[in-house]
């Protein structure tokens, strides 16, 4: 498989604050990668480095480009939606389409108009007159009409209601994603994207604490809800974490035999948010 993003000892500091700490990373084509971390963990700094929006130390290679020095060439193949990177308020919908068509060789105007036809976004309105949901829909329509290799999403659905959020990811999967493309996504609503991710990267304080394939995570990590009489037995098996909620105790195990755990109670798949909390609280 071919790596489309490789980072070697990637670092970034702001004064004495180390936002990224010698990160090593390999991301392959055809993946949907979730980058998960608390606020200030370094997610956005990592994405900004990949997008060539900030300088960095170490080696970073994205689609064969050096992002910081070759941003304009590289952005022909990469698209980016962020909660903070809004479309300018003064631009009209039709002007935004004209502009993207003007600067992107691979932009397909008909496709964009097709996507917009499925919404109630008026072409002659300025962005300032559109709702937050419409702006994200427009941005997504523009970006899905570019034949990009990598799509970077930084909190793309922040501030959207649940209907728009679901629609956003569904459209992304149906109309954009294929085995030649890669999606990097950060979000706080981990549960909503859990089932579309193929890779996950946990970041804490500028370090990658886990980078794994979703299938491997499901194989390695499991949750045990033991019967009350088996709680002590479960504790003996070295769980990674223990949680009691509403009188029910559950354990998270790593690399345990599924059969042995099943003898103590119900074994289920670990959710990313639980795994995240476990790893963040560990050490």
């Amino acid at each position: 498989m071919s790596n489309i993003i490789t980072a070697h000892n990637l670092g970034k500091s702001y004064g004495s604050f180390q936002a990224l700490n010698n990160i090593n990373l390999n991301i392959q084509k055809g993946q949907i990668v979730g980058i998960i971390g608390a606020n200030g963990a370094g997610k956005t700094t990592l994405l900004n480095s990949i997008l060539g929006l900030c300088s960095y130390d170490g080696d970073l290679n994205v689609l064969g480009f050096d992002p910081y020095n070759q941003r304009d060439e590289m952005m022909k193949k990469i698209c980016f939606i962020s909660d903070v990177a809004t479309l300018p308020k003064w631009i009209r919908v039709c002007e935004a389409i004209d502009f993207v068509e003007g600067v992107h060789k691979s932009f397909d105007r008909q496709k964009a108009l097709g996507f917009l036809a499925g919404t109630n976004i008026p072409l002659d309105k300025k962005i300032r007159h559109l709702s937050k949901g419409m702006i994200v829909q427009l941005h997504l329509a523009l970006i899905m009409s570019i034949d990009a290799r990598i799509l970077v999403l930084d909190e793309p659905t922040l501030g959207l209601d649940i209907i728009y959020r679901k629609k956003f990811y569904r459209q992304l999967l149906e109309d954009f994603f294929d085995e030649d493309r890669t999606i990097l996504v950060t979000t706080h609503q981990v549960d909503e994207i859990e089932n579309i991710l193929s890779e996950v990267i946990f970041i804490r304080e500028g370090n990658i604490i886990l980078s794994a394939n979703m299938d491997d995570i499901v194989d390695q990590w499991m949750v045990l809800n033991p019967a009350t009489e088996n709680i002590d037995a479960a504790r003996m098996m070295a769980p990674v974490s223990e949680q009691t909620m509403l009188g029910r105790t559950s354990f998270i195990f790593k690399d345990q035999s599924r059969d042995r755990l099943a003898q103590l109670g119900e074994v289920s798949r670990v959710s990313l948010s639980d795994l995240f909390v476990t790893l963040m609280e560990g050490d």
Binding site: L51, R71, M75, C79, A85, P88, W90, R92, E95
Partner: protein, 309 residues
């Protein structure tokens, strides 16, 4: 109104950047000169006497028509000789308005996109920072003033037409008095040359404003102004010189290429011809200014590359 005219049609990155500047700065490019031209026309129409007598001379009021009818042969000759200059001077309000448009567009050029967070959208597009800044520079230095010249041209023709109406019923013929001594193409050429040379003279100042615009956290105007004031004070107090103020004054006044001796008298108002204006490029100060501008613009490009929010 502009929708059908303005289409990018396919892959033309620089054209798209220029359109983006027009869309963003429509007010500076189009609305400002349009409004000033329209207001000037209204003022002229009123002063023509449509709404009564409105020209005051020695306590008496006349209409434009009466003034022309009462002109002596000498006055008429003087008007004929100076009609070009008069028309040039009449475009002053438009050009002053446009000068402010240029200054404030430069100040906002790289600040507004950071203020409204759209810089990340622009930076997600495959265009380089130097191309973006070039498109902004061209908008400030050429598009805004050249569009304004179009408006001054319309205004000048309007004045000639108004003057023609004013001669009706007098002993003077409009052709003799106004049209035969007017050279509109030459005036247009002169204005275009003037605007280009003015922008080149003013380039270091405009580049400084753009640099302030890419750096400023709050007010680019203050950021551009305060260091200049401080440096000028420092220079005056410790060295008793005023090089910086002289430099800015010379460049902002376009190397004084306009050559206006505004004494209030027609005969002292002698705008220079296109050749004379072009000759100002032989001054070392012109090239020094361009060198300073190139350095400032280089720094501006580097800073925009860095600043993502």
């Amino acid at each position: 109104m502009s929708a059908p005219l303005l289409r990018i049609n396919g892959y033309h990155p620089f054209k798209a950047l220029m359109f983006r500047e027009y869309w963003e700065n429509r007010r500076a490019v189009l609305t400002t000169p349009l409004v000033i031209t329209a207001l000037s026309m209204v003022v002229i129409i009123i002063s023509m006497g449509i709404f009564g007598r409105s020209i005051h001379i020695n306590g008496e009021t006349f209409t434009l028509q009466q003034v022309i009818a009462n002109m002596s042969m000498q006055d008429a000759q003087s008007l004929k000789d100076n009609v070009n200059h008069l028309l040039l001077a009449s475009s002053a309000p438009i050009m002053i308005g446009v000068w402010f448009s240029m200054i404030f567009t430069a100040l906002g050029s790289l600040y507004d996109e950071r203020k409204d967070n759209s810089i990340l959208f622009w930076k997600s597009m495959p265009v380089s920072d130097s191309q973006t800044i070039l498109s902004k520079l061209l908008t400030v230095t050429l598009v805004i003033p050249l569009v304004a010249i179009g408006f001054t041209f319309i205004f000048q023709i309007f004045l000639l037409i108004v003057g023609t109406f004013a001669t009706i019923g007098t002993d003077y013929s409009a052709w003799d008095l106004l049209w035969s001594s007017t050279n509109l193409p030459a005036m247009l050429l002169r204005e275009v040359v003037y605007v280009i040379m003015y922008s080149l003279w003013a380039l270091p100042v405009l580049a400084w404003l753009m640099l302030a615009s890419v750096v400023a956290k709050r007010s680019p105007l203050l950021l551009a102004g305060i260091p200049v004031v401080l440096f000028a004070l420092f220079e005056a107090l410790f060295f008793h010189t005023r090089y910086l103020i002289d430099f800015i004054g010379k460049h902002l006044s376009g190397g004084r290429i306009q050559g206006m001796g505004m004494g209030g008298d027609f005969n002292h108002f002698s705008p220079r011809g296109p050749l004379e204006i072009l000759q100002s490029a032989t001054q070392p100060a012109f090239w020094l200014g361009l060198a300073v501008a190139v350095i400032l613009l280089y720094i501006t490009v580097q800073l925009r590359k860095r600043s993502s929010l």
